[in-house]
Subunit: 198 residues, 2 copies
């Protein structure tokens, strides 16, 4: 057995997603061996995140300021709000560099199995934002799973009273994807939504 | 892009063994979302390890005290020293609960490729310890790799002048291992070292 301090570190590391008991042990040993270059900077970064990062009261993004830097960015388009399940999805869209509007993070999807109802998600706040006269379109970018699509349909119903266009992401063949490896649902959606090549 | 504090955390996490950029991002998000239950305990554990854990001046083990708890344990056998490459190997042997002597952590193996010579390993300290009249056997438990075995042979030469028995781990079929999946070297070693079943 390692020292109790190290055992505790291993235990905490092994609870992180993507780390099992074995890799947590390797990571802990790496940290202990490189105190100055790895452990101390990580410890500092954790404290900084702990103090600085909070949830944006407008969109639910995690950032060092509230409202977050996306909500306060004057170069972004106020007219379009993209609704995502999770902050990770917001990050993915930001990495793709293809969206210049605002976001709204739901915090999950409706799920009968997990007992997540409309009140557990930030749907009321979204409807509130949609009522603003400046908003013209709401893009529902929830996952293409059953729960994600159920949530999208539910939100679309909630937004019916608002004067906004409600849209969803296109289905189709992923860029770089091989047809042979695609599921039937995606192939059929890609065929149905086929486009004229010009 | 996420907040700079989070980006820095992702960057530091992705340098840990077993975590790539993608899993580091997932781990960071998990940490930020569960500040009280995950981030703060981990931050505390890192600070505790940083302050408490040091390298044992006798054997090279990492522990909260120096000499370490294994070196000072009165129930352990002073007559046998097991030589391992790394603290991780010491942990593995301790988990197997099959050795009750003392340890000596080399801190690596001789390696011409990586430019690691005898002076970079704790070999002098081992010879010093072996000169003690109480030590009867030194078990060289380095890896069964070329570098590990080279190191073992080198150490065996260094220990020739000392009045100690120098031994190595047995080679053979791993317990639970299937013959079909074993390499030729292991199979041939297991055959050569075959034992009468009684």
């Amino acid at each position: 057995m390692a020292a109790p301090e190290i055992e505790q570190l291993i235990q905490l590391l092994s609870k992180l997603p993507g780390l099992g008991p074995r890799s947590a042990r390797r990571a802990a040993l790496h940290l202990v061996k490189k105190k100055e270059t790895v452990l101390q900077p990580l410890s500092l970064a954790l404290q900084r995140v702990d103090q600085a990062v909070k949830s944006c009261s407008v969109c639910g993004n995690l950032d060092g300021s509230d409202p977050c830097s996306i909500c306060t960015d004057p170069r972004r388009d106020d007219r379009v709000i993209c609704v995502v399940q999770d902050v990770a999805d917001l990050w993915a869209l930001e990495r793709s560099n293809s969206f210049r509007g605002r976001y709204h993070v739901l915090g999950g999807t409706l799920s009968a199995l997990d007992g997540i109802g409309p009140d557990d998600l930030k749907i009321d706040q979204l409807v509130e934002r949609a009522r603003d006269s400046g908003v013209e379109e709401i893009i529902l970018a929830t996952s293409a799973t059953v729960d994600g699509q159920t949530t999208a349909h539910y939100i679309a119903d909630c937004l019916e009273e608002c004067a906004v266009l409600v849209s969803g992401l296109a289905h189709g063949v992923p860029v770089g994807g091989e047809l042979d490896y695609l599921d039937d649902g995606t192939l059929s959606a890609a065929l149905t939504a086929r486009r004229k090549i010009d």
